[in-house]
């Protein structure tokens, strides 16, 4: 993929960004436009179906897979500001529709052109230009992005191009933060204990900013950090890359 490839890109904004933090969606639009993409936001989008998939409601998850495949198959690329939602489309739609002769190939085709946004921008060779953020940040590798999509180096390469940003290591950066989608409210006591250890590690990193690529994990970690009285502020990585880290962090009045 070269930088001058004109692409008709669909932004799948995710249900969480839509309802909780639209800034992430606008940051995505800004970065993708800067990367030379013609971005469309399909108006019929709601959710990838992951809550049904992980709750065991396979029939509903499969129905969402069909609807989203039909909605997204006309674009050159589908870009998602979340590793777990991108992973659902890339890894699970083909599996959900594998036995459906009408849909299997279509699901594979959509999966093959669905990208988590940081991986997409990195693969296009895009780097933030003239973005300055004098701060110390640490990065949490969200599990689905890391293990389903192999996202590890890409966000660090992109963040390396932000002037003034010092990225410091996070002990246990690949350890789950305890969010787990509906897990965090189905088993709150376990989730809370896991989040506590993650927050302690973030505090110990000495960073003033916590960055990641998934809003659910970020809300969990930031919410725990705030409950503990920590001063660490949290942003989605795309907000930093789009030069929008001067606005409210997660939990600050938007």
């Amino acid at each position: 993929m070269s930088q001058d490839t004109p692409s008709r890109v669909a932004l799948f904004v995710t249900c969480l960004v839509d309802a909780m933090r639209p800034r992430v969606g606008f940051a995505a639009l800004r970065a993708l436009a800067d990367a030379g993409c013609a971005v469309v936001v399909p108006a019929a989008q709601t959710c990838c179906g992951q809550p049904a998939l992980n709750s065991g409601d396979r029939a509903t998850a499969t129905d969402f897979a069909r609807r989203n495949v039909a909605m997204l198959e006309g674009y050159d690329a589908i870009v998602v500001p979340s590793g777990s939602c991108a992973g659902t489309i890339r890894c699970h739609y083909p599996e959900l529709l594998a036995d459906d002769p009408e849909w299997a190939a279509r699901a594979e085709a959509v999966a093959g052109k669905t990208w988590e946004i940081l991986a997409y921008l990195d693969a296009r060779g895009w780097r933030p230009q003239g973005v300055t953020l004098p701060a110390t940040a640490t990065y949490h590798d969200s599990c689905s992005g890391l293990r389903e999509l192999g996202i590890k180096a890409q966000p660090r390469r992109l963040l390396g191009a932000v002037d003034g940003l010092d990225l410091v290591p996070l002990a246990g950066e690949e350890t789950c933060c305890g969010f787990g989608g509906t897990f965090c409210v189905k088993y709150p006591a376990i989730s809370n204990a896991i989040a506590d250890e993650k927050a302690a590690a973030v505090e110990a990193s000495g960073a003033g900013l916590l960055l990641a690529g998934d809003l659910g994990c970020l809300m969990n970690m930031a919410g725990k950090l705030h409950r503990r009285g920590a001063e660490v502020r949290a942003f989605h990585t795309i907000e930093v890359l789009a030069g929008m880290a001067d606005g409210p962090a997660i939990g600050e009045d938007q």
Partner: protein, 463 residues
């Protein structure tokens, strides 16, 4: 979640000693495994071969079982077949009775725990001395194993020291690991050597030679094998491998994945009873091959689980296990592999929490030396639980309502607007208490949403 699981989790989370004990052992294991695998560049290829070996055996289990029976019999062992846990225990107890056994020396075996052998021996009035130090500890404490490699992982050494002081005839004076081990040795050595029957499990059963392979770090399997007159091996039928070459390949993965060591301290291969001219060894050798649901697992979508070589890496690396320890799972096997196995062994209805109490982070699959797709298998149980109506009605109704709306973008947008307004009534920045979201706000603050959704703002032209 179910009340029973809920109560076990709460008790575990409240137990600071448990947290210290689990973190010491699992943390060390994680670090050592990481170093060992990091120093093994071809680990990826090795685990693919390991998975292929196990898959091949599982797909051809019948013929390998027949081959093993023939070669083990030729070596002088007697092979028994048990379809259920009860049958397996009855066979073992019967052999013990025929041998006139008053006591057995037992070497740690998770299969033995799975079939309830300690209880069956007790019910038959047969004394049991545990040769594995950790099994001895939990026998003294009247507990069950909390980990498949370290049965007493849930206890700190300080707790073990107190237990030995209370229960050993000549407890240690100096507070050191060496002195505590000596205390256990004084307590156990005579009983071990005086046992009439020895019982062990198997790490591998080798089809072409009829050999049994055991690995231990204490040499205790050998103490259940050599001194007693009769030896009994109980093993799950998935323990088969075609030849010693295959066993050796799997051993390389087993030790590194479990403890980070290149090899366990003791790795023993043996076949049949003492032969004419042998200096020592049991006069009788019995091998009890146990199905206990394994054939059904193979045929009902859990064939990949039968690859498991019981290394414990999945639980050592599991964020949930690291918080709640092994006993909270309630089954014989804890952690991710236990959450797949226990519903198969003990029923899904009573254990539906196990596959659900998982964040699906995929770490267990990443570290598994035989590449078992544990998250996929756990999701399979969730799907079965959903199909069978075992999931709570509130979840089913809530998810149903959400799915109904999310199929209708206009309805969905209206719902999102309503939800945003409701959440913002509770606060504009960090929300410390959110009605109906106590699960979240009990331990974390909740960030209030922006005033308007992305889709609404985008529709109005904002970019």
């Amino acid at each position: 979640m179910s009340r029973a699981f809920d109560a076990r989790v709460d008790a575990a989370l409240a137990d600071r000693q448990l947290k210290i004990a689990v973190e010491r052992t699992a943390g060390t294991a994680e670090a050592k495994r990481g170093a060992a695998i990091g120093a093994w560049p071809s680990f990826g290829a090795a685990r693919e071969r390991a998975a292929a070996i196990k898959d091949h055996v599982i797909a051809n289990l019948g013929s390998y079982l027949v081959q093993f029976e023939a070669s083990a019999t030729a070596s002088g062992a007697t092979v028994h077949w048990a379809e259920t846990a009860d049958e397996a225990c009855a066979i073992v107890v019967d052999i013990c009775r025929k041998a006139g056994a008053r006591s057995v020396a037992r070497s740690k075996s998770m299969l033995g725990e799975e079939i309830g052998l300690p209880h069956a021996l007790e019910a038959a009035g047969i004394g049991r001395v545990e040769t594995d130090l950790a099994e001895h500890i939990i026998q003294l404490a009247g507990e069950r194993p909390s980990h498949i490699i370290w049965p007493a992982m849930h206890k700190t050494r300080e707790q073990v020291s107190a237990l030995f002081h209370a229960r050993h005839r000549e407890p240690h004076v100096e507070e050191s690991i060496v002195a505590m081990a000596a205390s256990a040795r004084r307590q156990l050595r005579g009983e071990m050597l005086g046992a009439d029957v020895g019982i062990s499990g198997a790490n591998f059963l080798i089809a072409d030679s009829g050999q049994v392979c055991t690995v231990t770090n204490e040499g205790n399997a050998e103490l259940s094998l050599v001194p007693p007159r009769v030896h009994i091996v109980t093993a799950g039928i998935e323990k088969l491998v075609p030849s010693m070459d295959h066993a050796v390949h799997l051993l390389r993965l087993l030790a590194r994945s479990a403890t980070g060591a290149a090899l366990t301290q003791y790795t023993t291969f043996y076949a049949g009873p003492k032969r004419a001219g042998d200096r020592d060894g049991p006069e009788e050798m019995h091998i009890v091959l146990v199905d206990n649901g394994r054939s059904a697992m193979r045929d009902e979508g859990l064939a990949e689980m039968l690859r498991c070589i019981r290394c414990g890496a999945c639980m050592n690396h599991c964020v949930v296990f690291r918080q709640i320890g092994g006993h909270a799972y309630g089954g014989t096997y804890p952690g991710p592999m236990g959450s797949v196995l226990t519903p198969a062994l003990d029923g899904l209805a009573a254990n539906r929490d196990l596959p659900n109490a998982c964040t699906m982070n995929g770490k267990c699959q990443e570290v598994c030396p035989v590449a078992i797709p544990l998250p996929t298998l756990l999701r399979g149980w969730r799907e079965k639980s959903w199909r069978e109506g075992l999931e709570p009605v509130t979840l089913r109704k809530g998810l149903g309502l959400w799915a109904w709306a999310a199929r209708r973008p206009w309805v969905y947008r209206t719902g999102v607007r309503w939800a945003i307004r409701t959440m913002r009534l509770a606060g504009r920045g960090w929300i410390a208490k959110l009605p109906l979201a106590g699960g979240w706000t009990g331990g974390r603050d909740f960030p209030a949403p922006a005033a308007e959704s992305f889709m609404d703002r985008y529709r109005k032209g904002e970019r």
